[in-house]
């Protein structure tokens, strides 16, 4: 271990080459819900010299504690999920062909013609499609069903892959001008954010970081993590779709964008799983306003983050979510703005630095 530690409590973390390197490592890793091993190893390596306590629990969550200093410290839980949507091999057929199922919400129209990586060894494979020459016009108007698709690993794959192995898109991390392009930005952006916050942990609070498992299949890791931490408040740090594309009818305004790129961190008032605690919503928007950190309100609607479980644990945990907006979430490659990520870090760090017991001493007003 020769890596120099840059611990700078109190300072606002910034995005630079080290942060990109971390995000690259995280997004190129494979960690489909239920098999978060690879990201867990990266996280454990990153946090081990920074944390006061590190635990891996029964579900595989990584639970990191960093104590603050002084009296009256609020126990603040931050949660980001390590898992990503992906595929599971379910049946071996002849000639290196494998049937597979989706894990988490993947649009089946995203699958044909993609390269994938399978298993811990990242074995390359492809999901092909029937030659267009052999399809009929009416066939091309139908979705290609997942049950008819195969992952092809080549005829001599042998026993290197077996049913139960996980797979995901083979997309590599890249920087496109002001943007990041990668798979699994949902939620490796959050994971990277938590690691950066740990490096710059505010000393006024006890920082409880949950790197959670199984978010994409039902917010399952967060539930047991919150039970164990028993925090005073919680923030889920996630990534949420930016559907800020033009409406086909150019006369009509896109009123359903969820979030917009360059709009800054997305603060949640309500999604399908949580109604944000207004004390925390106000803290975040107030910090944004006072420090000229851009932010946006994520459009209220469906969807959910780890906060959906956390706020209902034990006798209740005041909770809110903050997301880095990203286009094409749950697709082979997402696109997020570097500035939005930087401002998310800044907003969270500044807000956490201002958390005091008085914040929660007032009755929940919403």
């Amino acid at each position: 271990m020769t890596k120099k530690l840059e611990i700078s409590a109190g300072q606002v973390p910034e995005i630079g080459p080290d942060q990109f390197a971390l995000l690259e490592k995280l997004t190129n890793a494979i960690a489909v819900s239920g098999d978060e091993h690879e990201v867990r190893q990266i996280v454990l390596e990153e946090v081990k010299l920074l944390a006061d306590d590190v635990q891996v629990d029964a579900l595989g969550n990584v639970l990191v504690t960093k104590f603050g200093r002084g009296e009256g410290r609020v126990r603040v839980m931050l949660a980001s999920h390590m898992d990503e949507i992906g595929l599971m091999i379910v049946q071996k057929n002849d000639d290196g062909q494998f049937e597979f199922e989706r894990v988490g919400g993947i649009d089946e129209r995203q699958l044909p013609g993609k390269a994938v990586l399978v298993g811990r060894e990242h074995l390359p494979g492809v999901i092909g499609a029937k030659p267009i020459h052999m399809t009929t016009t009416s066939e091309r108007e139908q979705k290609i069903e997942v049950s008819s698709l195969r992952i092809d690993l080549g005829p001599e794959i042998g026993d290197q892959v077996k049913p139960g192995d996980w797979a995901t898109f083979a997309t590599r991390f890249g920087i496109l001008g002001p943007s990041i392009r990668a798979k699994a930005l949902d939620d490796r952006l959050g994971v990277a954010t938590l690691i950066e916050l740990l490096k710059h942990a505010p000393e006024n609070i006890d920082l409880l970081l949950a790197f959670t498992v199984q978010e994409e299949v039902g917010l399952r890791g967060a539930r047991v993590a919150a039970y164990r931490f028993d925090p005073d408040m919680a923030i889920a740090v996630d990534s949420t779709p930016a559907n800020d594309l033009p409406n086909w009818d150019s006369e009509v305004e896109n009123a359903r964008y969820n979030t917009k790129l360059d709009g800054g961190p997305a603060i949640y008032v309500m999604d399908g799983a949580t109604i944000g605690d207004q004390r925390l919503v106000n803290l975040l928007t107030g910090v944004g306003d006072a420090n000229a950190i851009p932010y946006q309100i994520r459009q209220p609607g469906s969807g959910g983050t780890d906060a959906g479980m956390i706020h209902q644990v034990r006798a209740g945990v005041p909770s809110v979510s903050v997301s880095v907006p990203s286009r094409y979430i749950h697709f082979a490659a997402g696109i997020a703005r570097i500035d939005d990520w930087a401002n998310t870090l800044k907003l969270l760090h500044t807000a956490l630095s201002q958390v005091t017991p008085e914040l929660l001493a007032v009755e929940r007003r919403a």
Partner: protein, 352 residues
């Protein structure tokens, strides 16, 4: 318990619908009484049997969770002596017309599910399969007597008697999941003659088919170090031949997926190989559809394994299992538990 067949047949001849497990709990209680050191009933009706280990205290705890509740029906209304019904758990309404049932009113009333003629139903409802909303139960009594003996909320259960088929196949209703209760009982029986360090908590849980209520609450009380959920899984049969279906009579289904701790999967796999007990990997890419969904996320989380008994025709009155598979699951569990050393948790980790 050398011959568990009478016990299993007795269980699948009893009702015990989700939320109303009393009748079957009594049968299980009698069977577990001589096999356990302590028996208790949870606040919502799950049966907890403790067989103490011989290791030094404090002892680790292994939970065996098998749900004992059954799917069935409930009376929603009474019209002219005929009863309207809704389901408890998931029933395909297409298998109901003509089924023999028992209505559990002020007394047990044998009867049958009837499908009214199409011309007595709304136009859209009569031609295809008739939905449960339109099906009726007839117990052969006159309206005045029915009103006296039946009220809204009374239960209706399948009346199918157990059938022993060739090749050690057993058919009947509610083999989901009483076959697993039998397997847990076999396990407790085998452990009578074995030393085991860990405490064994056998739970016959309630409400799996509705709320997973037993699986959510009993582990909270027991706080096991690991859990083994036993449930039936899909066996290959007519219309069920893809990767989700395991060979009938082909051995234990070993669950694999997010609900299952991989170290426990591995331990069971190794044990099955060593004992030459046939098994198949039962893939559960998302949720397992078993008590494990709830057990795994109780409190701070519990490492969980899922063992399956391949079963045909799930949720019909003629479910079918192979007794061979029931015995295999019981034996595999007993061997696994007997081998749990006081420090076994050191290996149940995520250092893969």
């Amino acid at each position: 318990m050398n011959d568990f067949l009478p016990f299993l047949k007795k269980m699948i001849s009893a009702p015990g619908l989700s939320g109303f497990e009393g009748p079957v709990r009594k049968i299980i209680q009698e069977a577990w009484e001589p096999l356990t050191d302590e028996l208790s009933v949870s606040k919502i009706g799950s049966l907890h049997g403790l067989k103490k280990g011989q290791g030094p205290e404090p002892r680790k705890r292994v939970l065996i969770s098998t749900h004992m509740d059954a799917i069935g029906m409930m009376v929603t209304g009474i019209e002219e002596g005929l009863m309207r019904i809704t389901q408890i758990g998931g029933i395909d309404h297409r298998i109901l017309p003509g089924q023999s049932v028992i209505v559990h009113g002020r007394e047990e009333l044998p009867g049958q599910v009837v499908q009214p003629p199409a011309h007595l139903l709304p136009e859209s409802a009569g031609s295809g399969p008739v939905k449960m909303d339109y099906l009726l139960v007839d117990v052969g009594l006159r309206p005045a007597e029915v009103v006296e003996k039946v009220r809204v909320g009374d239960l209706v259960s399948y009346a199918q008697e157990p059938l022993e088929l060739t090749g050690e196949a057993l058919a009947g209703h509610t083999l989901d999941n009483r076959a697993s209760v039998a397997a847990a009982t076999i396990c407790l029986g085998e452990l009578q003659n074995r030393l085991h360090d860990w405490d064994v908590w056998a739970v016959a849980s309630v409400q799996e088919e509705e709320t997973l209520g037993g699986a959510q609450t009993s582990p909270f009380e027991i706080r096991p170090d690991i859990a083994i959920v036993v449930d039936v899984c899909f066996a290959k049969g007519p219309g069920a031949s893809d990767w989700r279906n395991l060979p009938f009579g082909g051995g234990v289904g070993l669950g694999w997926g997010p609900n299952i701790h991989p170290a426990l999967y591995k331990a069971f796999e190794e044990k099955a190989k060593a004992l030459e007990i046939p098994y198949n990997r039962d893939l559960m890419p998302k949720m397992s559809g078993t008590d494990a969904m709830a057990v795994q996320v109780v409190a701070e989380g519990i490492p969980t394994a899922v063992l399956g008994i391949p079963l045909r025709y799930m949720h019909t009155p003629v479910e079918m299992v192979s007794m061979k598979d029931v015995r295999r699951v019981g034996r595999l569990m007993a061997e696994f538990i007997a081998d749990l050393k006081p420090d076994a948790m050191d290996k149940i980790n995520w250092e893969e």
